[in-house]
Protein backbone atom coordinates (compact mmCIF):
# COMPACT_ATOMS: atom_id res chain seq x y z
CA UNK A 1 0.00 0.00 0.00
CA UNK A 2 2.68 2.47 1.00
CA UNK A 3 6.26 2.06 -0.06
CA UNK A 4 9.17 4.39 0.58
CA UNK A 5 12.63 3.77 -0.84
CA UNK A 6 15.60 5.78 0.34
CA UNK A 7 13.69 9.01 0.84
CA UNK A 8 15.85 12.04 1.51
CA UNK A 9 15.05 15.71 1.76
CA UNK A 10 17.66 18.45 1.94
CA UNK A 11 17.14 22.16 2.42
CA UNK A 12 20.41 23.58 1.23
CA UNK A 13 22.91 21.91 3.51
CA UNK A 14 20.37 21.08 6.20
CA UNK A 15 19.21 17.50 6.07
CA UNK A 16 15.57 17.05 7.06
CA UNK A 17 15.20 13.40 6.10
CA UNK A 18 17.96 10.98 5.20
CA UNK A 19 17.54 7.62 3.50
CA UNK A 20 14.17 6.63 4.93
CA UNK A 21 12.76 3.34 3.64
CA UNK A 22 9.77 1.36 4.81
CA UNK A 23 6.61 -0.38 3.71
CA UNK A 24 3.13 -0.50 5.11
CA UNK A 25 0.47 -3.02 4.16
CA UNK A 26 -3.30 -2.87 4.17
CA UNK A 27 -4.79 -3.19 7.64
CA UNK A 28 -1.68 -1.84 9.24
CA UNK A 29 -1.28 1.17 11.50
CA UNK A 30 2.24 2.46 11.28
CA UNK A 31 3.44 4.97 13.84
CA UNK A 32 6.09 7.63 13.32
CA UNK A 33 7.69 8.40 16.61
CA UNK A 34 10.35 10.96 17.23
CA UNK A 35 11.20 14.27 18.84
CA UNK A 36 10.23 17.53 17.14
CA UNK A 37 12.36 18.12 14.07
CA UNK A 38 13.12 14.43 13.60
CA UNK A 39 11.60 14.45 10.12
CA UNK A 40 8.13 13.05 10.79
CA UNK A 41 6.20 15.83 9.07
CA UNK A 42 8.68 16.07 6.20
CA UNK A 43 8.40 12.34 5.51
CA UNK A 44 4.61 12.59 5.57
CA UNK A 45 4.63 15.57 3.25
CA UNK A 46 6.75 13.60 0.79
CA UNK A 47 4.29 10.71 0.92
CA UNK A 48 1.34 13.03 0.27
CA UNK A 49 3.06 14.57 -2.74
CA UNK A 50 3.17 17.99 -1.12
CA UNK A 51 6.97 18.01 -0.95
CA UNK A 52 9.08 16.39 -3.63
CA UNK A 53 11.92 14.30 -2.16
CA UNK A 54 15.50 15.33 -2.92
CA UNK A 55 16.26 11.66 -3.43
CA UNK A 56 14.49 8.34 -3.33
CA UNK A 57 10.96 7.41 -4.27
CA UNK A 58 7.65 6.62 -2.66
CA UNK A 59 4.39 5.14 -3.84
CA UNK A 60 0.83 5.12 -2.54
CA UNK A 61 -1.36 2.20 -3.60
CA UNK A 62 1.11 1.43 -6.37
CA UNK A 63 1.25 4.98 -7.73
CA UNK A 64 4.51 6.89 -7.59
CA UNK A 65 3.98 10.10 -5.62
CA UNK A 66 5.93 12.18 -8.14
CA UNK A 67 5.24 10.61 -11.52
CA UNK A 68 1.62 9.65 -10.90
CA UNK A 69 1.01 12.26 -8.30
CA UNK A 70 -2.72 12.72 -8.85
CA UNK A 71 -3.45 9.00 -8.88
CA UNK A 72 -1.48 8.68 -5.64
CA UNK A 73 -3.31 11.65 -4.11
CA UNK A 74 -6.68 10.20 -5.08
CA UNK A 75 -5.91 7.19 -2.90
CA UNK A 76 -4.99 9.09 0.17
CA UNK A 77 -6.54 11.11 2.94
CA UNK A 78 -4.31 13.55 4.76
CA UNK A 79 -4.66 15.36 8.04
CA UNK A 80 -1.86 17.93 8.21
CA UNK A 81 -0.33 19.06 11.46
CA UNK A 82 -2.35 21.85 13.17
CA UNK A 83 -5.37 21.07 10.92
CA UNK A 84 -5.51 24.03 8.54
CA UNK A 85 -9.13 24.95 7.75
CA UNK A 86 -11.05 27.91 6.33
CA UNK A 87 -12.49 29.71 9.38
CA UNK A 88 -15.24 31.49 7.45
CA UNK A 89 -16.82 28.28 6.12
CA UNK A 90 -19.32 26.02 7.85
CA UNK A 91 -18.40 22.41 8.52
CA UNK A 92 -20.84 21.15 5.90
CA UNK A 93 -19.76 23.84 3.43
CA UNK A 94 -16.10 22.96 3.83
CA UNK A 95 -16.63 19.21 3.53
CA UNK A 96 -18.83 19.76 0.49
CA UNK A 97 -16.07 21.85 -1.09
CA UNK A 98 -13.44 19.18 -0.45
CA UNK A 99 -15.78 16.47 -1.74
CA UNK A 100 -16.30 18.47 -4.95
CA UNK A 101 -12.57 18.93 -5.38
CA UNK A 102 -12.10 15.20 -4.93
CA UNK A 103 -15.05 14.50 -7.23
CA UNK A 104 -16.58 12.16 -4.67
CA UNK A 105 -19.56 10.29 -6.11
CA UNK A 106 -22.81 10.59 -4.11
CA UNK A 107 -21.48 13.62 -2.33
CA UNK A 108 -24.37 13.99 0.06
CA UNK A 109 -24.05 10.44 1.39
CA UNK A 110 -20.28 10.66 1.64
CA UNK A 111 -20.64 13.88 3.63
CA UNK A 112 -23.14 12.33 6.02
CA UNK A 113 -21.01 9.24 6.49
CA UNK A 114 -17.84 11.22 7.19
CA UNK A 115 -19.60 13.53 9.64
CA UNK A 116 -21.17 10.62 11.47
CA UNK A 117 -17.84 8.82 11.76
CA UNK A 118 -16.35 11.71 13.71
CA UNK A 119 -19.61 12.79 15.40
CA UNK A 120 -19.98 16.29 14.01
CA UNK A 121 -23.34 15.91 12.26
CA UNK A 122 -25.20 18.04 14.80
CA UNK A 123 -22.77 20.92 14.24
CA UNK A 124 -22.77 20.72 10.45
CA UNK A 125 -23.89 24.34 10.04
CA UNK A 126 -21.46 25.87 12.52
CA UNK A 127 -18.68 28.14 11.35
CA UNK A 128 -15.29 26.44 11.54
CA UNK A 129 -13.74 29.55 13.06
CA UNK A 130 -15.94 29.14 16.14
CA UNK A 131 -15.04 25.50 16.78
CA UNK A 132 -12.91 24.19 19.62
CA UNK A 133 -9.64 22.44 18.94
CA UNK A 134 -11.29 19.05 19.34
CA UNK A 135 -13.96 19.80 16.77
CA UNK A 136 -11.41 21.25 14.35
CA UNK A 137 -9.47 18.02 14.61
CA UNK A 138 -12.59 16.05 13.82
CA UNK A 139 -13.41 18.23 10.82
CA UNK A 140 -9.87 17.60 9.57
CA UNK A 141 -10.36 13.88 10.03
CA UNK A 142 -13.74 13.98 8.27
CA UNK A 143 -12.06 15.76 5.37
CA UNK A 144 -9.43 13.03 5.16
CA UNK A 145 -12.13 10.33 5.19
CA UNK A 146 -14.58 11.86 2.71
CA UNK A 147 -13.51 9.85 -0.30
CA UNK A 148 -12.98 6.64 1.70
CA UNK A 149 -9.30 6.41 0.81
CA UNK A 150 -7.29 3.19 1.25
CA UNK A 151 -4.41 5.18 2.74
CA UNK A 152 -4.63 7.65 5.61
CA UNK A 153 -1.79 9.89 6.68
CA UNK A 154 -2.41 11.65 9.97
CA UNK A 155 0.10 14.11 11.34
CA UNK A 156 -0.31 14.24 15.11
CA UNK A 157 -4.01 13.42 15.11
CA UNK A 158 -4.46 13.62 18.88
CA UNK A 159 -2.44 16.71 19.68
CA UNK A 160 -4.33 19.37 21.64
CA UNK A 161 -7.29 17.17 22.48
CA UNK A 162 -8.64 16.51 25.94
CA UNK A 163 -8.33 12.97 27.32
CA UNK A 164 -11.85 11.95 26.38
CA UNK A 165 -11.42 13.20 22.82
CA UNK A 166 -8.06 11.45 22.59
CA UNK A 167 -9.71 8.15 23.45
CA UNK A 168 -12.42 8.78 20.84
CA UNK A 169 -9.95 9.61 18.12
CA UNK A 170 -7.80 6.60 18.97
CA UNK A 171 -10.80 4.33 18.77
CA UNK A 172 -11.66 5.81 15.41
CA UNK A 173 -8.12 5.31 14.13
CA UNK A 174 -8.08 1.73 15.33
CA UNK A 175 -11.37 1.13 13.53
CA UNK A 176 -10.10 2.78 10.35
CA UNK A 177 -6.80 0.93 10.51
CA UNK A 178 -8.45 -2.47 10.35
CA UNK A 179 -9.23 -2.15 6.66
CA UNK A 180 -6.94 0.65 5.59
CA UNK A 181 -3.32 1.61 5.80
CA UNK A 182 -2.79 4.30 8.36
CA UNK A 183 0.36 6.25 9.05
CA UNK A 184 0.27 8.51 12.06
CA UNK A 185 2.87 10.57 13.79
CA UNK A 186 2.97 11.29 17.45
CA UNK A 187 5.23 12.02 20.31
CA UNK A 188 2.88 10.46 22.81
CA UNK A 189 4.47 7.11 23.52
CA UNK A 190 1.59 5.09 24.97
CA UNK A 191 -0.36 5.99 21.84
CA UNK A 192 2.11 4.04 19.78
CA UNK A 193 1.90 0.88 21.87
CA UNK A 194 -1.90 1.15 21.89
CA UNK A 195 -2.53 1.93 18.26
CA UNK A 196 0.28 0.83 16.03
CA UNK A 197 1.16 -2.53 14.59
CA UNK A 198 4.60 -1.19 13.85
CA UNK A 199 6.65 1.79 14.89
CA UNK A 200 9.27 3.77 13.09
CA UNK A 201 11.42 5.77 15.42
CA UNK A 202 12.90 8.75 13.65
CA UNK A 203 15.82 10.70 14.94
CA UNK A 204 17.66 13.48 13.12
CA UNK A 205 15.90 12.57 9.90
CA UNK A 206 16.95 8.93 10.00
CA UNK A 207 15.20 5.74 10.98
CA UNK A 208 16.59 4.73 14.35
CA UNK A 209 14.40 1.67 14.67
CA UNK A 210 11.51 0.01 12.92
CA UNK A 211 9.59 -2.82 14.52
CA UNK A 212 6.45 -3.78 16.41
CA UNK A 213 6.06 -1.99 19.75
CA UNK A 214 6.19 -5.37 21.53
CA UNK A 215 9.38 -6.69 20.02
CA UNK A 216 10.94 -3.26 20.24
CA UNK A 217 10.43 -3.51 23.96
CA UNK A 218 11.71 -7.07 24.21
CA UNK A 219 14.68 -6.41 21.97
CA UNK A 220 15.84 -3.57 24.11
CA UNK A 221 15.21 -5.71 27.13
CA UNK A 222 17.65 -8.19 25.63
CA UNK A 223 20.06 -6.11 27.57
CA UNK A 224 18.52 -7.33 30.82
CA UNK A 225 18.41 -5.06 33.74
CA UNK A 226 17.90 -6.55 37.15
CA UNK A 227 17.21 -4.81 40.39
CA UNK A 228 18.57 -6.46 43.50
CA UNK A 229 18.11 -5.37 47.07
CA UNK A 230 19.86 -7.03 49.97
CA UNK A 231 19.17 -6.59 53.66
CA UNK A 232 22.77 -6.71 54.91
CA UNK A 233 24.97 -4.82 52.51
CA UNK A 234 28.64 -5.39 53.24
CA UNK A 235 31.54 -3.81 51.33
CA UNK A 236 32.62 -5.73 48.27
CA UNK A 237 29.23 -7.07 47.28
CA UNK A 238 29.34 -5.25 43.97
CA UNK A 239 32.65 -6.88 43.07
CA UNK A 240 31.35 -10.33 43.90
CA UNK A 241 28.20 -9.78 41.84
CA UNK A 242 30.35 -8.64 38.98
CA UNK A 243 31.99 -12.07 38.92
CA UNK A 244 28.70 -13.86 38.27
CA UNK A 245 28.59 -15.28 34.76
CA UNK A 246 26.68 -13.02 32.37
CA UNK A 247 26.79 -9.87 34.50
CA UNK A 248 28.17 -6.89 32.65
CA UNK A 249 27.86 -3.91 34.90
CA UNK A 250 26.82 -3.34 38.47
CA UNK A 251 25.69 -0.05 39.91
CA UNK A 252 25.42 0.31 43.61
CA UNK A 253 22.67 2.49 45.02
CA UNK A 254 21.64 3.39 48.56
CA UNK A 255 20.09 0.92 51.03
CA UNK A 256 21.68 -2.13 49.49
CA UNK A 257 20.13 -1.64 46.10
CA UNK A 258 22.08 -2.80 43.06
CA UNK A 259 21.21 -2.35 39.41
CA UNK A 260 22.73 -5.06 37.33
CA UNK A 261 22.99 -5.28 33.57
CA UNK A 262 23.51 -8.65 32.05
CA UNK A 263 24.23 -9.80 28.55
CA UNK A 264 21.42 -10.22 26.12
CA UNK A 265 19.11 -13.16 26.51
CA UNK A 266 20.71 -14.42 29.66
CA UNK A 267 18.75 -14.44 32.85
CA UNK A 268 21.22 -14.01 35.70
CA UNK A 269 18.59 -14.00 38.42
CA UNK A 270 18.95 -17.67 39.54
CA UNK A 271 22.72 -17.26 39.85
CA UNK A 272 22.32 -13.98 41.71
CA UNK A 273 19.78 -15.51 44.08
CA UNK A 274 22.13 -18.41 44.79
CA UNK A 275 24.99 -16.07 45.49
CA UNK A 276 23.01 -13.80 47.81
CA UNK A 277 21.57 -16.69 49.78
CA UNK A 278 24.94 -18.48 50.00
CA UNK A 279 26.66 -15.37 51.29
CA UNK A 280 23.80 -14.64 53.67
CA UNK A 281 23.30 -11.03 52.52
CA UNK A 282 19.57 -11.22 53.09
CA UNK A 283 17.64 -11.19 49.83
CA UNK A 284 14.92 -8.53 49.89
CA UNK A 285 14.13 -8.05 46.24
CA UNK A 286 15.21 -9.45 42.91
CA UNK A 287 13.37 -8.48 39.75
CA UNK A 288 13.86 -7.82 36.06
CA UNK A 289 13.23 -4.22 35.10
CA UNK A 290 11.30 -3.77 31.89
CA UNK A 291 11.82 -0.73 29.73
CA UNK A 292 8.86 1.45 29.03
CA UNK A 293 8.32 2.95 25.60
CA UNK A 294 9.60 6.20 27.09
CA UNK A 295 12.90 4.63 27.98
CA UNK A 296 13.23 2.95 24.60
CA UNK A 297 12.48 6.20 22.92
CA UNK A 298 15.07 8.08 24.92
CA UNK A 299 17.56 5.28 24.49
CA UNK A 300 17.17 5.44 20.73
CA UNK A 301 16.92 9.13 20.17
CA UNK A 302 19.24 10.73 22.70
CA UNK A 303 22.33 8.99 21.40
CA UNK A 304 23.93 10.60 18.44
CA UNK A 305 22.69 8.16 15.90
CA UNK A 306 23.71 10.29 12.96
CA UNK A 307 27.34 10.02 14.05
CA UNK A 308 27.36 6.28 14.50
CA UNK A 309 25.07 4.98 11.83
CA UNK A 310 26.37 5.12 8.31
CA UNK A 311 23.67 5.71 5.66
CA UNK A 312 24.01 2.07 4.63
CA UNK A 313 23.36 0.77 8.11
CA UNK A 314 20.77 -2.01 8.26
CA UNK A 315 18.66 0.32 10.35
CA UNK A 316 17.60 2.11 7.21
CA UNK A 317 16.40 -1.04 5.51
CA UNK A 318 12.80 -2.09 5.92
CA UNK A 319 12.53 -4.93 8.39
CA UNK A 320 9.73 -7.41 8.00
CA UNK A 321 7.84 -7.49 11.28
CA UNK A 322 8.31 -11.19 11.73
CA UNK A 323 12.10 -11.25 11.76
CA UNK A 324 13.40 -12.92 14.88
CA UNK A 325 14.85 -10.45 17.37
CA UNK A 326 18.20 -12.22 17.50
CA UNK A 327 18.93 -11.44 13.86
CA UNK A 328 18.48 -7.72 13.93
CA UNK A 329 20.54 -6.79 16.87
CA UNK A 330 22.27 -4.03 14.96
CA UNK A 331 19.12 -2.25 13.98
CA UNK A 332 18.00 -1.26 17.40
CA UNK A 333 21.13 -0.88 19.40
CA UNK A 334 22.82 1.47 17.01
CA UNK A 335 24.65 3.10 19.89
CA UNK A 336 26.77 -0.02 20.08
CA UNK A 337 28.13 0.52 16.60
Amino acid sequence: MIEAQGLSKHYGTRIAVQNVSFQAEQGEVLGFLGPNGAGKTTTMRILTGYLPPSDGSASIAGHDVLRESRAARRNLGYLPENVPLYPEMTIAGYLDYMARLRQVPQRRDALQRAMELVHITERADDRIGKLSKGYRQRVGLAQALLHDPPVLILDEPTVGLDPRQIIEVRELIRKLGSERTVILSTHILPEVSQLCNRVIILSNGRIAAIDTPQSLTTRLQGMERVRLQVGKPVPGIAEQIGLVAGVQTVEEGANGVFEIQSTRDQDVRPLLADLVVKQGWGLLELRAMSMSMEEIFLELTTHDIAATAAPTTPAAEPIPPDVAPAEDENEVVTKDA
Binding site: P52, E88, M98, L101, R102
Partner: protein, 243 residues
Protein backbone atom coordinates in the same frame (compact mmCIF):
# COMPACT_ATOMS: atom_id res chain seq x y z
CA UNK B 1 -11.38 22.74 -15.12
CA UNK B 2 -14.06 21.34 -12.87
CA UNK B 3 -11.76 21.82 -9.90
CA UNK B 4 -10.90 25.38 -10.99
CA UNK B 5 -14.59 26.33 -10.99
CA UNK B 6 -15.10 24.71 -7.59
CA UNK B 7 -12.18 26.70 -6.21
CA UNK B 8 -13.47 29.88 -7.85
CA UNK B 9 -16.89 29.41 -6.30
CA UNK B 10 -15.49 28.93 -2.80
CA UNK B 11 -13.26 31.95 -3.30
CA UNK B 12 -16.17 34.14 -4.38
CA UNK B 13 -18.10 33.08 -1.28
CA UNK B 14 -15.07 33.93 0.83
CA UNK B 15 -14.96 37.44 -0.70
CA UNK B 16 -18.41 38.21 0.58
CA UNK B 17 -17.73 36.92 4.07
CA UNK B 18 -15.02 39.49 4.66
CA UNK B 19 -15.85 43.19 4.38
CA UNK B 20 -13.19 43.71 1.72
CA UNK B 21 -15.41 42.90 -1.26
CA UNK B 22 -18.14 45.27 -0.03
CA UNK B 23 -15.68 48.03 0.77
CA UNK B 24 -13.88 47.80 -2.56
CA UNK B 25 -17.16 47.63 -4.49
CA UNK B 26 -18.56 50.61 -2.62
CA UNK B 27 -15.40 52.65 -3.13
CA UNK B 28 -15.32 51.70 -6.79
CA UNK B 29 -18.92 52.76 -7.35
CA UNK B 30 -18.53 56.03 -5.44
CA UNK B 31 -15.39 57.02 -7.37
CA UNK B 32 -16.70 55.94 -10.79
CA UNK B 33 -20.03 57.63 -10.04
CA UNK B 34 -18.19 60.77 -9.11
CA UNK B 35 -16.26 60.79 -12.37
CA UNK B 36 -19.39 60.04 -14.35
CA UNK B 37 -21.19 63.01 -12.81
CA UNK B 38 -18.28 65.33 -13.47
CA UNK B 39 -17.97 64.32 -17.10
CA UNK B 40 -21.70 64.47 -17.60
CA UNK B 41 -22.00 67.97 -16.15
CA UNK B 42 -19.01 69.29 -18.07
CA UNK B 43 -20.38 67.79 -21.30
CA UNK B 44 -23.67 69.58 -20.71
CA UNK B 45 -21.84 72.86 -20.29
CA UNK B 46 -20.06 72.48 -23.63
CA UNK B 47 -21.77 73.99 -26.67
CA UNK B 48 -21.71 70.80 -28.77
CA UNK B 49 -23.09 68.67 -25.91
CA UNK B 50 -20.84 65.72 -26.87
CA UNK B 51 -22.16 62.81 -24.83
CA UNK B 52 -19.66 60.24 -26.18
CA UNK B 53 -16.88 62.02 -24.34
CA UNK B 54 -18.59 61.16 -21.04
CA UNK B 55 -18.14 57.40 -21.22
CA UNK B 56 -14.66 57.68 -22.72
CA UNK B 57 -13.57 59.88 -19.86
CA UNK B 58 -15.11 57.46 -17.41
CA UNK B 59 -13.29 54.47 -18.92
CA UNK B 60 -9.96 56.27 -18.76
CA UNK B 61 -10.49 56.85 -15.06
CA UNK B 62 -11.70 53.36 -14.25
CA UNK B 63 -8.41 52.20 -15.80
CA UNK B 64 -6.52 54.04 -13.13
CA UNK B 65 -8.84 52.97 -10.32
CA UNK B 66 -8.18 49.38 -11.39
CA UNK B 67 -4.48 49.72 -10.65
CA UNK B 68 -5.39 50.50 -7.07
CA UNK B 69 -8.16 48.01 -6.45
CA UNK B 70 -6.73 44.97 -8.28
CA UNK B 71 -4.07 44.39 -5.58
CA UNK B 72 -6.78 44.63 -2.92
CA UNK B 73 -8.90 42.02 -4.67
CA UNK B 74 -6.08 39.56 -5.23
CA UNK B 75 -3.85 39.93 -2.17
CA UNK B 76 -5.66 37.25 -0.18
CA UNK B 77 -5.98 34.62 -2.90
CA UNK B 78 -2.87 32.48 -2.45
CA UNK B 79 -1.10 34.33 0.36
CA UNK B 80 -3.74 33.47 2.91
CA UNK B 81 -3.82 29.79 1.94
CA UNK B 82 -0.08 29.68 2.42
CA UNK B 83 -0.22 31.49 5.75
CA UNK B 84 -2.96 29.31 7.22
CA UNK B 85 -1.61 26.10 5.69
CA UNK B 86 -4.83 25.27 3.85
CA UNK B 87 -2.73 25.17 0.68
CA UNK B 88 -1.36 21.87 1.98
CA UNK B 89 -4.80 20.28 1.93
CA UNK B 90 -5.56 21.84 -1.44
CA UNK B 91 -2.35 20.65 -3.09
CA UNK B 92 -2.58 17.14 -1.65
CA UNK B 93 -6.07 16.69 -3.07
CA UNK B 94 -6.08 15.45 -6.66
CA UNK B 95 -6.16 18.96 -8.09
CA UNK B 96 -3.64 20.26 -10.61
CA UNK B 97 -1.62 23.30 -9.63
CA UNK B 98 -2.87 25.31 -12.59
CA UNK B 99 -6.45 24.61 -11.60
CA UNK B 100 -5.76 26.20 -8.22
CA UNK B 101 -4.25 29.29 -9.86
CA UNK B 102 -6.98 29.55 -12.48
CA UNK B 103 -9.73 29.12 -9.89
CA UNK B 104 -8.34 31.89 -7.71
CA UNK B 105 -7.90 34.20 -10.68
CA UNK B 106 -11.41 33.55 -12.00
CA UNK B 107 -12.91 34.41 -8.62
CA UNK B 108 -11.21 37.81 -8.57
CA UNK B 109 -12.20 38.42 -12.19
CA UNK B 110 -15.81 37.46 -11.53
CA UNK B 111 -15.99 39.86 -8.60
CA UNK B 112 -14.61 42.69 -10.68
CA UNK B 113 -16.99 41.94 -13.54
CA UNK B 114 -19.90 42.24 -11.11
CA UNK B 115 -18.58 45.66 -10.13
CA UNK B 116 -18.17 46.60 -13.78
CA UNK B 117 -21.67 45.39 -14.58
CA UNK B 118 -23.04 47.87 -12.06
CA UNK B 119 -21.42 50.73 -13.99
CA UNK B 120 -23.63 49.84 -16.97
CA UNK B 121 -26.15 51.99 -15.13
CA UNK B 122 -24.30 55.08 -16.39
CA UNK B 123 -24.76 54.60 -20.15
CA UNK B 124 -28.28 53.33 -19.49
CA UNK B 125 -28.91 56.51 -17.52
CA UNK B 126 -27.72 58.64 -20.44
CA UNK B 127 -29.94 56.69 -22.81
CA UNK B 128 -32.95 56.84 -20.50
CA UNK B 129 -32.56 60.58 -20.07
CA UNK B 130 -32.87 61.03 -23.83
CA UNK B 131 -29.22 61.09 -24.72
CA UNK B 132 -28.05 59.08 -27.67
CA UNK B 133 -24.90 57.29 -26.55
CA UNK B 134 -22.64 55.78 -29.17
CA UNK B 135 -22.79 52.06 -28.21
CA UNK B 136 -19.75 51.04 -30.30
CA UNK B 137 -17.11 52.78 -28.22
CA UNK B 138 -19.02 51.87 -25.06
CA UNK B 139 -18.89 48.20 -25.95
CA UNK B 140 -15.21 48.59 -26.89
CA UNK B 141 -14.54 50.37 -23.64
CA UNK B 142 -16.08 47.57 -21.61
CA UNK B 143 -14.16 44.94 -23.57
CA UNK B 144 -10.94 46.86 -22.99
CA UNK B 145 -11.67 47.21 -19.29
CA UNK B 146 -12.39 43.51 -18.98
CA UNK B 147 -9.08 42.64 -20.61
CA UNK B 148 -7.18 45.20 -18.55
CA UNK B 149 -8.86 43.93 -15.40
CA UNK B 150 -7.96 40.34 -16.23
CA UNK B 151 -4.35 41.38 -16.82
CA UNK B 152 -4.03 43.37 -13.59
CA UNK B 153 -5.78 40.66 -11.58
CA UNK B 154 -3.51 37.97 -12.99
CA UNK B 155 -0.52 40.04 -11.88
CA UNK B 156 -2.12 40.37 -8.45
CA UNK B 157 -2.58 36.59 -8.32
CA UNK B 158 1.10 36.15 -9.12
CA UNK B 159 2.10 38.53 -6.33
CA UNK B 160 -0.13 36.62 -3.94
CA UNK B 161 1.71 33.38 -4.74
CA UNK B 162 5.02 34.95 -3.76
CA UNK B 163 4.34 35.52 -0.09
CA UNK B 164 2.18 34.45 2.81
CA UNK B 165 1.61 38.06 3.84
CA UNK B 166 -1.40 39.72 2.23
CA UNK B 167 -0.06 43.24 2.67
CA UNK B 168 3.24 42.29 1.05
CA UNK B 169 1.29 40.66 -1.79
CA UNK B 170 -0.71 43.85 -2.34
CA UNK B 171 2.43 46.01 -2.33
CA UNK B 172 4.22 43.73 -4.80
CA UNK B 173 1.19 43.71 -7.10
CA UNK B 174 0.89 47.48 -6.95
CA UNK B 175 4.61 47.94 -7.65
CA UNK B 176 4.47 45.70 -10.73
CA UNK B 177 1.34 47.42 -12.02
CA UNK B 178 2.83 50.84 -11.44
CA UNK B 179 5.88 49.92 -13.49
CA UNK B 180 3.70 48.56 -16.31
CA UNK B 181 1.64 51.72 -16.13
CA UNK B 182 4.49 54.24 -16.07
CA UNK B 183 6.62 52.46 -18.63
CA UNK B 184 4.72 54.27 -21.37
CA UNK B 185 5.96 57.57 -19.94
CA UNK B 186 9.57 56.38 -20.31
CA UNK B 187 9.07 56.80 -24.05
CA UNK B 188 8.89 60.55 -23.66
CA UNK B 189 12.48 60.61 -22.38
CA UNK B 190 14.07 57.88 -24.51
CA UNK B 191 12.30 58.89 -27.66
CA UNK B 192 14.24 56.34 -29.70
CA UNK B 193 12.54 53.48 -27.90
CA UNK B 194 9.21 55.24 -27.48
CA UNK B 195 7.41 52.64 -29.56
CA UNK B 196 8.80 49.79 -27.47
CA UNK B 197 7.78 51.42 -24.21
CA UNK B 198 4.35 52.20 -25.47
CA UNK B 199 3.97 48.62 -26.67
CA UNK B 200 4.75 47.39 -23.18
CA UNK B 201 2.49 49.81 -21.34
CA UNK B 202 -0.56 48.21 -19.85
CA UNK B 203 -2.72 51.35 -20.01
CA UNK B 204 -2.06 52.81 -23.43
CA UNK B 205 -3.87 49.93 -25.07
CA UNK B 206 -7.11 50.23 -23.20
CA UNK B 207 -7.38 53.82 -24.49
CA UNK B 208 -7.76 52.37 -27.97
CA UNK B 209 -10.73 50.30 -26.85
CA UNK B 210 -12.37 53.33 -25.23
CA UNK B 211 -12.12 55.16 -28.54
CA UNK B 212 -13.96 52.25 -30.13
CA UNK B 213 -10.86 50.91 -31.86
CA UNK B 214 -10.45 47.19 -31.37
CA UNK B 215 -7.06 45.97 -32.56
CA UNK B 216 -6.18 42.30 -32.71
CA UNK B 217 -2.72 43.32 -31.54
CA UNK B 218 -4.15 44.80 -28.34
CA UNK B 219 -6.23 41.71 -27.63
CA UNK B 220 -3.20 39.48 -28.20
CA UNK B 221 -1.13 41.68 -25.87
CA UNK B 222 -3.59 41.30 -23.02
CA UNK B 223 -4.28 37.61 -23.56
CA UNK B 224 -0.61 36.74 -23.68
CA UNK B 225 0.05 38.84 -20.60
CA UNK B 226 -2.75 37.04 -18.73
CA UNK B 227 -1.80 33.53 -19.81
CA UNK B 228 1.91 34.17 -19.28
CA UNK B 229 1.35 35.57 -15.81
CA UNK B 230 -0.91 32.71 -14.75
CA UNK B 231 1.62 30.25 -16.12
CA UNK B 232 4.41 31.84 -14.08
CA UNK B 233 2.13 31.84 -11.02
CA UNK B 234 1.65 28.09 -11.43
CA UNK B 235 5.40 27.61 -11.59
CA UNK B 236 5.88 29.74 -8.49
CA UNK B 237 3.37 27.58 -6.66
CA UNK B 238 5.28 24.49 -7.77
CA UNK B 239 8.69 25.81 -6.80
CA UNK B 240 7.46 27.00 -3.43
CA UNK B 241 7.07 23.33 -2.58
CA UNK B 242 10.79 22.94 -3.05
CA UNK B 243 11.76 25.70 -0.66
Amino acid sequence: MHAALTIARRELDAYFVSPIAYLVTAAFLVISGFFFSIFLISAQQQPNNDITQVMQGLFNNINVILLFIAPLLTMRLLADEQRSGTIEVLLTSPVRDWEVVLGKFLAALALFLVMLLLTLLYPLFIWRMGGNPDWGPIFGGYLGLTLLAAATLSIGTLASALTENQIVAAVIAFAILLVLWLIGAAGTVWTGAAEVFRALSILERSDNFARGVINLEDIVYYLSLIIGTLFITTRILETRRYS
